[in-house]
Chain length 448, copies 2
C-alpha cells in the first residue's frame, strides 16, 4: 500500500492560516519568539514520524482589506513575521530525522549569499533541508526593498528560472565530490584543481566566484514549490520535487496533479519525480461528537475579520468594500485567476465565504474520528493521486498532538504510514537518493 507522507505546516508568526486561533486559551502561537516552543514542536513531530516541518514566510504586509495594513496588524495576520531559516538549527539539533522545508523569496535574496545559507543548513541538519521556492506577490514587499513595484507575474518565473541556474551552478558545479580531502598528514584540506569558479551570465543574474561552502549531503536542498498558475505548473514540472496544493474538489485536484506530472515528463523527468502534497486542517477526537464539540470550541476563537484580511490579500480583492450578499466581482489578475473562477462558479458572496471559513481560513477542516479522518486521507490518495498531506497549524501544539495520538496509529494500522523512519537525508527518505537524479536540470551543471 502506498505510504502517505505527512508534513506539518507552520510559520514564524502569530496568525498563520486559521486566523484568530491564537486567542484560544490553549493555543501557544504567541510563543513564536521562543526557541523552546519550536524545539518542543520539532520533537513532537519526530515522535509522530512526520517527514517534515514546512515553514511558510511572507515579505510585506496584507494591506488589501480596507486598503491599509491596520486590520492585519490588529489581528496579527502573518505580521509580525520573523525569519523562518533561523528556527531550523535549534530544531535540527534536537532531532535526528525530521526534515525542514523553509520558504525563501528569490526575488530579494542575492543568489551567492542565499546558496551559502542553504548549504550551511544542509550541513548543519545533515541533509534535512528543503527550500520552498517563492517569487512573492506583494507590492508592499517590493516597496520595502526600495523598488517602485514588483516584477509582473510571468516575468517573475523567468527571473526564477535564471536564479535556479545560478544556484544550481553553485550547489552542484563548483566543488567536485572528491574536492575535500581533509588530510591532516599532508595539510591539504581541499584539492584546488577540483574546485572551480562559477561563471553565470544570465538575463537577470551574473556572478563569478566559487561557492563558499563545501559539498553538503544533498547539495541542492529538496525543492518545494506551490505555484498553481499555468506558468507556475511549468516551473514546478521543471524544478520541483514536492508540490503543495490547496484542497478543493477532488477531481479538480486530481487534474492539477496530473498536469504537474505531465509537465515533469515534458521536462524529461519521471512522473513520480514530483510528489503532490495537499494542504489540510484536521480536527480529530475519540468520537464524532467530541470532534464536533472541539470544532465548535475552536470556532468561537476564529476571527472572521482576520480571515477576510487574509483572503483579501490572497485574492487581490478588498472584501471590506463588499456588502454581505454582493456577488464577489473581481479585479482579475493572473495570480488569482483560478481562485476567482472558482468563486464565480459558486456564486460566492462575503456571507457565504464567511460561512465557509469556519476556523478563520478558506481551508475547511476535516472533522471526525481517527477512522473518519483516515478514510478522507486515503480517498484523497486514491482519487487524486496525491502523495501526502501538509497539516496546518490550528490550536497549537494540540492540533499536532491530537493528530499524532489518534490519526497516525490509525494510518499505521491500515498499512498506509511508516512505523519507523528510513535512514538518511530528507531526499533519501522521500526519493531514495541523497542528491538530485540525472534527469533533473540541476544535474546538467555538475562538476566532471
Amino acid at each position: 500500500m502506498k505510504q502517505l507522507r505527512l508534513t506539518a505546516f507552520d510559520m514564524n508568526c502569530v496568525g498563520h492560516i486559521q486566523q484568530g486561533l491564537w486567542t484560544h486559551p490553549r493555543d501557544r502561537s504567541a510563543d513564536y519568539t521562543s526557541l523552546d516552543h519550536w524545539v518542543g514542536l520539532a520533537k513532537l513531530l519526530e515522535r509522530g514520524l512526520f517527514d517534515g516541518l514546512f515553514l511558510a514566510d511572507i515579505l510585506g504586509v496584507y494591506d488589501v482589506f480596507g486598503a491599509a495594513p491596520d486590520a492585519a496588524i490588529r489581528h496579527a495576520v502573518q505580521v509580525p513575521v520573523n525569519d523562518p531559516l533561523l528556527l531550523v538549527p535549534a530544531m535540527a539539533h534536537a532531532t535526528t530525522h525530521l526534515g525542514f522545508g523553509v520558504t525563501a523569496n528569490l526575488s530579494y535574496e542575492p543568489p551567492y549569499l542565499f546558496a551559502r545559507r542553504m548549504s550551511t543548513l544542509d550541513h548543519l541538519t545533515r541533509g534535512r533541508i528543503g527550500w520552498n521556492i517563492v517569487t512573492g506577490y506583494l507590492d508592499s514587499a517590493a516597496r520595502a526593498m526600495g523598488l517602485s513595484h514588483q516584477v509582473a507575474h510571468d516575468d517573475r518565473y523567468d527571473v526564477a528560472d535564471d536564479y535556479m541556474q545560478a544556484v544550481y551552478k553553485l550547489w552542484e558545479g563548483s566543488w567536485a565530490d572528491d574536492a575535500v580531502r581533509a588530510d591532516r598528514a599532508t595539510g591539504r584540506y581541499a584539492d584546488p584543481s577540483r574546485v572551480r569558479a562559477v561563471h553565470h551570465r544570465g538575463p537577470y543574474f551574473q556572478l563569478d566566484g566559487i561557492h563558499l561552502s563545501e559539498p553538503s549531503p544533498q547539495r541542492t536542498p529538496l525543492l518545494y514549490q506551490a505555484g498553481s498558475s499555468a506558468r507556475g505548473r511549468r516551473f514546478a514540472g521543471q524544478h520541483a520535487e514536492c508540490v503543495f496544493l490547496n484542497g478543493g474538489p477532488r477531481p479538480a485536484v486530481a487534474a492539477h496533479v496530473a498536469a504537474i506530472r505531465a509537465e515533469a515528463v515534458r521536462a524529461g523527468r519521471g512522473a513520480s519525480d514530483v510528489q503532490a502534497h495537499v494542504g489540510i486542517s484536521v480536527v480529530v477526537a475519540e468520537t464524532e461528537t467530541l470532534a464536533q464539540a472541539k470544532l465548535a470550541d475552536y470556532r468561537r476563537h476564529a476571527s472572521p475579520e482576520a480571515a477576510l484580511v487574509h483572503a483579501s490579500a490572497s485574492m487581490g480583492i478588498d472584501l471590506a468594500a463588499y456588502g454581505m450578499d454582493d456577488p464577489i466581482e473581481a479585479v482579475p489578475t493572473q495570480a488569482i485567476a483560478s481562485n476567482l473562477a472558482a468563486m464565480a462558479q459558486q456564486g460566492m458572496t462575503k456571507r457565504k465565504l464567511l460561512d465557509r471559513m469556519v476556523l478563520g481560513s478558506r481551508q475547511v477542516p476535516i472533522t471526525g474520528t481517527a477512522s473518519q479522518v483516515a478514510d478522507a486521507l486515503l480517498a484523497w490518495s486514491a482519487e487524486a493521486d496525491v502523495d501526502g498531506f501538509i497539516l496546518s497549524r490550528m490550536v497549537t501544539p494540540e492540533c499536532f498532538e491530537d493528530f499524532i495520538e489518534l490519526v497516525v496509529p490509525e494510518l499505521q494500522r491500515r498499512g498506509a504510514y511508516k512505523t519507523e523512519y528510513a535512514p538518511g537525508t530528507l531526499r533519501r527518505k522521500l526519493f531514495g537518493t541523497d542528491q538530485l537524479p540525472g534527469t533533473h536540470p540541476a544535474a546538467e551543471v555538475r562538476f566532471g
Copy 2:
C-alpha cells in the same frame, strides 16, 4: 577593580586565524559543520562566564597570494566558510547568558531582510545578539555578487552610514514600545496606530514599509566594529559599542583606543559608551616549561604558507612574489596603510614575517602560566585603557578549555573577572541598559 570582558573569537570554517592548526591531532576545527561541535563550544564558554562568542565571516576568497585562490583552498584559509548566523539558534537554545556577535557584510545584505534576521535572532536569544558591522574588502566578493568591482574604501563607509540609518529606522522607529498588546480577550494582537511604516530616502538605500518583526529585547543588536582607518574610527565613534582592535605595541594601541573614545565624544556620546577589546592568542599551562612545550607542539602544525596566504590578502601584497629577505614593499591601498607603515618601520621581510607568525598568524601568542597571562592582560588594561579581550581559536576547543581552567580563576582571584553572570540582555550585561542610550544616533529615529 575594572572587570575585564572576555569574548571568544571563532568562525564557521576550518582555518580561522592561526592557520594550519586544524591538522593538530586534538584539533576539532574540521567539525565545523556539526551542531554538536558548536553547542559544545557554547556550553564550555558559558561555563567559563565568557561574555560572548564572536563569529567572524568573509565573503569571497583570498586570491592575492600567487594571484589565485589555490593555496587558500588547499589550506582551508577561511574557505570553505559557512554562514555564521545559522549557528546561533542552536547555541542559544543550549545556553542562557552567552552573547553572540555575528559578522555580516552590509554591502550585500538588503537592509529590509537583514533587519528582520537580526530582530529574529534578538528574539530567539532573548536579547543576546550583536552585529559586527563590516563593509568587506575583497573584490572576489563583489564579482560573486555580479558587480565588476567593489565600492572604494571611504565610499563604503558612506554607504554604511546610510545603511545604518535605514536599519535604525526599522529597529527603533517602526513599532512603538506599547504597540504589541497580545490581548486574547479582545483579539487585538497589536495596535495599528502604534506601528508605522519607515520611509527612508537615503543616497544609497530607499525603503518604504513597516518592520516585519515586533520589538525585540535589545531592538538594535549590540554593535561591534573593527575598522582601523581614520574613516573607520570615525564610523566606530558614531555607531559602535564594542570595537575590536588588533594587538601591537601597547602605546600604539593606547593611542588607537584614545582616538576612538575621542571620536565617540565628538559624536555626542560618552567616552565609555565604546568598549575596546583587543584580539589575543593565549597558550597557557601549569608551568612556563609546559606552556612553551605546548607552543612548540602547536607550532609543528602551523602552516607558514597558509599564514602567508592570509597575510597577503589582509595586506593586499602578494607575498608569493618575494624572496625571503626582500624588504616588503607595498602596493599601498588605503585599507592597509597602517599595516604597511608598521612593516616599513620594522624593516620587515618575508623571513622575519614568517618568524613572527609562530602559529600561522601575525597574532603572536601570549605564552606562559596563568599568572603570567593574567599579568599581561592586566598590563594591557592599565596601559592601553582596553576593556577586554577577544580570544582567538587555536587548537580548539582545548585552547578555550585551558583558558577557562587556568586563566579565568586567576583573573577572578585578582578581582578582575566576574564570578557569576549579571542578568539580562547582552547590552545590559556590558552597558547596564537593554537598549541604546539616548545619545546614540539610533535614538533619534525612535517612535514617539
